[in-house]
């Protein structure tokens, strides 16, 4: 990276990161630092090295903060709209952003060139008008590696598969697309969602994809054949009787490390979604049985949306909530009790996904367990995204007031 070092970029106050020892403990989660942006943030992701956090915002930029120094860089010029989802190539060198403009943009996490651009005077604050104003400088990346017109309409999701070969996207053309990760050549399209698909993930084994749409329909696809091998109807949707419209779908989706569990974050129990009156929920899918095994509920039952879900290396599930009341939470659930209970029951063998795989036999419907969190971190603003470092010690959250907050536990 290089930029004109005679000009000092503005950055938020830097607080040294403490050393940590022992197992991460959610009950010791503590906010370490906060970065700010002028517009509401839409999501956030930590790069695999844990050095940088990227966030989308309610402007057309993607922002990168270096966690230790607070240095802020804007990636712009490629999206004509808000960025909804951020992911990283399997080698961690590239960041992928998908947006409401239908595009997926590939950027370097650490680009060779970062320009230092003076901000216009009107964007430079001064408490005393008589004092000469030192121009502020913005660090800018405006040359993406690639721009892909991925979908007609909003590109809601981008996910880089675990083996580095494929990228999955979905958009408002109702199509799931699988791309060759190196050349961005379209490999396969998966068609079947009747309503807009909100998220798609490639399973860690690389053989399956899973997607969820507005109606809470979760489809499992064979990556090779394109066949739909499983359909799950979740509770993550609802029809608003008063205003005559559907709302639902996954606002975040994540697998645990070994791919045995899938988490889908969103809403349920729609009362009046036009006012935000519905319950946040995270549905956990047991990948072996392809059944929804758990419904993770918030402690307070506050109306709102679950905007984020992650599986922590220690085995618990973490969710990020944006509440109707203008506040947020980060909540922690243990699945241990459920696992213990289910260990007594025989499980079906995981179904292989090859060219000749037949649709799985339906299994007896089992009611998901309703689980409350064992710990909650209160946040004074709605949380719109969450991500963890690989060691699980730090997490970052993106908030609707434009703040990006770093926690350690």
């Amino acid at each position: 990276m290089r930029f004109d070092e005679t000009q000092t970029p503005e950055m938020d106050e830097v607080v040294p990161m403490p050393e940590n020892s022992g197992k991460p403990d959610p009950k010791k989660a503590k906010e370490l630092k906060q970065f700010t942006h002028g517009e509401a943030l839409t999501n956030c992701r930590l790069d695999p090295s844990g050095k940088y956090v990227f966030a989308g915002a309610e402007d057309f930029g993607v922002y990168r903060w270096e966690i230790e120094t607070g240095e802020k860089v804007v990636y712009r010029g490629a999206h004509d709209s808000w960025v909804r989802r951020i992911d990283f190539s399997s080698d961690g060198k590239q960041v992928l952003t998908s947006g409401w403009d239908g595009r997926v943009v590939v950027w370097d996490v650490q680009p060779e060139t970062i320009q230092a651009v003076e901000l216009p005077v009107e964007q430079t604050e001064s408490e005393d008008d008589s004092e000469p104003v030192e121009p502020k400088v913005e660090l800018v990346v405006d040359k993406p590696v690639r721009i892909v017109e991925a979908h007609r309409g909003f590109s809601r999701w981008v996910h880089a598969g675990p083996n580095g070969k494929y990228i999955a996207t979905c958009g408002n053309d109702k199509i799931i697309k699988l791309w060759d990760a190196r050349r961005w050549k379209l490999k396969k399209e998966f068609v079947g969602h009747g309503r807009h698909p909100y998220a798609v993930m490639i399973h860690p084994d690389g053989e399956s994809l899973v997607s969820e749409d507005l109606m809470g329909e979760i489809f499992v696809w064979n990556a090779k054949t394109g066949q739909r091998t499983r359909e799950l109807k979740s509770v993550m949707t609802g029809f608003d009787n008063k205003f005559q419209a559907d709302m639902g779908g996954a606002r975040d989706m994540a697998f645990n490390a070994d791919g045995s569990l899938l988490g889908c974050a969103g809403i349920t129990n729609v009362v009046n979604s036009f006012a935000g009156q519905q319950d946040p929920i995270i549905c956990v899918v047991d990948w072996a049985t392809k059944e929804i095994s758990s419904h993770l509920r918030t402690k307070s039952n506050s109306a709102g949306v679950a905007w984020g879900v992650r599986f922590h290396p220690e085995g618990f599930v973490v969710g990020a909530m944006g509440n109707q009341n203008g506040k947020g939470t980060v909540e922690f659930w243990s699945l241990a009790d459920e696992e213990a209970a289910e260990s007594a029951a025989p499980k079906e063998e995981a179904a292989g996904c090859d060219d000749h795989a037949a649709p799985e036999e339906p299994v007896e419907e089992k009611k998901p367990r309703e689980i409350k969190p064992f710990h909650v971190v209160e946040v004074n603003k709605p949380v719109r995204g969450i991500d963890f470092t690989e060691d699980g010690r730090r997490f970052v959250i993106a908030c609707s007031d434009g703040s990006l907050r770093v926690y350690e536990m």
Partner: protein, 422 residues
């Protein structure tokens, strides 16, 4: 209708002007409409040129940013982009691609300031052209002045699923009250009760008429005539149950099989059959949360269906006689709240209109760069009401003739948006 204050307004030309008939009818005290005053040939001519109104009400307040007045890349612009339309230089939101191809049939007003963010106040202002008072809705006024007496159908029909029940006729006769249809189902009790024989029903109707005559006696006929007309309309509508029969599958493919598609297909049928004002409500725009996802869903449903309906009206040669209005009670706030919502905003929003009496392809008024206020040609519900009336040939600057008094049809302090009128 009496006391024309503005003789210079540009009505739609007829061989025999509608205004003449309405004025004559009022002076003659005929409350049942103009049809009875016409010779058969004149009636036929009037019927063939009957002015009608199609109101498409986007209930709850469609966002102007996500429809008719995009502000891409600005502080409050949101995530959507503008697209070009069939009118060079005119852009609307990308959520309306089908409507964009019909913009040569429509014009947009981007400078409405109702000075209210209240659903009820906004809705009544947009319908009555007055912020306060017991005035009739657009549809009721149209029913009174544009509906032929021999028209077997109600003058003002609202196709909806739910909604606030407003008193829509104001001081006009009750026969001009809105008839509300629950979706595409026929009105309740349209069928003769099964245990009531046809002969008994005829005898009951005879008894009703006899009692009416006795009750009428020396009383004013106006009220009784109005009720009589309502009964007659109901009876005539009972004979038209075919309007509510199963909808054509191919047409549903074109319109969409969702509720709005079915409602719009029924609206086309009702217009074809001569209902004077048909209002169709599309619910789901009060987007305090998830404004953008909801607009994706709702306008996706609205766009193709509405463009299909507008195209059909044009293809049938009806557009010269059907005023089309797409409107809400207000717009949405520039500021996006923490729920990704936009709240109520009546200070600077837009509508679209076209067809009968309207110059197509235009844009009237403007908002400032961020869309926070009107910057040019500010208008409100009163201006719009005058414009609708003038477009269909009703002199909004004259008066309703009521028993012994007259009431201005449009708010006297406002005027039509003349640049919109043909």
């Amino acid at each position: 209708m009496t006391k024309r204050r503005n003789a210079g307004c540009n009505a739609v030309d007829h061989h025999v002007t509608r205004r003449h008939f309405m004025g004559t009818g009022a002076m003659a005290g005929a409350m049942a409409g103009f049809g009875g005053l016409l010779t058969p040939s004149m009636a036929k001519e009037m019927k063939s040129g009957q002015k009608q109104i199609l109101q498409v009400y986007l209930q709850g307040g469609v966002s102007q940013f996500e429809s008719w007045d995009c502000k891409p890349g600005t502080k409050y612009g949101g995530p959507f982009r503008p697209i070009s339309t069939s009118v060079p230089g005119v852009q609307i939101c990308e959520l309306l691609p089908y409507t964009a191809q019909k913009m040569h049939l429509l014009s947009v007003v981007r400078s409405i300031n109702l000075q209210t963010d209240d659903h009820t106040v906004g809705r009544l202002f947009m319908e009555k052209g007055r912020k306060n008072g017991d005035y009739p809705f657009v549809g009721a006024v149209a029913s009174k002045y544009l509906t032929a007496a021999d028209n077997p159908l109600p003058g003002y029909v609202h196709i909806t699923t739910r909604g606030i029940v407003d008193q829509t006729a104001g001081f006009l006769e009750s026969k001009h009250e809105m008839m509300r249809l629950e979706g595409v189902k026929p009105p309740t009790n349209l069928e003769r009760p099964k245990d009531l024989s046809k002969s008994l029903a005829i005898r009951a109707e005879g008894l009703r008429q006899q009692l009416n005559q006795q009750f009428g006696g020396k009383r004013s006929r106006a009220l009784i005539d109005s009720y009589d007309t309502s009964f007659e309309q109901a009876q005539q509508l009972m004979a038209r149950s075919d309007l509510f029969e199963k909808q054509d599958e191919k047409e549903l493919d074109r319109y969409g099989r969702h509720w709005f598609g079915r409602r719009c297909l029924l609206a086309r049928t009702l217009l074809e059959q001569g209902v004077t004002c048909v209002k169709v409500t599309h619910h789901g725009y009060d987007t305090h949360a998830e404004n953008f996802n909801f607009h994706v869903e709702q306008l996706d449903e609205f766009d193709k269906t509405f463009a299909t309906l507008l195209g059909d009206i044009e293809d049938r040669g009806m557009l010269d006689n059907v005023l089309v209005i797409i409107y809400s009670e207000f717009g949405r706030t520039p500021k996006v709240n923490h729920k990704y919502g936009r709240d109520h905003w009546g200070k600077s929003f837009s509508i679209a209109l076209g067809g009968c009496g309207i110059q197509p392809g235009g844009v009237v008024g403007a908002t400032n760069a961020d869309g926070t206020e009107v910057s040019d040609r500010e208008v409100d519900g009163a201006h719009l009401f005058h414009t609708y009336m003038q477009a269909v040939g009703i002199d909004s600057q004259s008066d309703h003739a009521l028993d012994g008094r007259s009431v201005p049809i449009g708010d006297p302090v406002a005027a039509p948006i003349k640049e919109l009128l043909t």
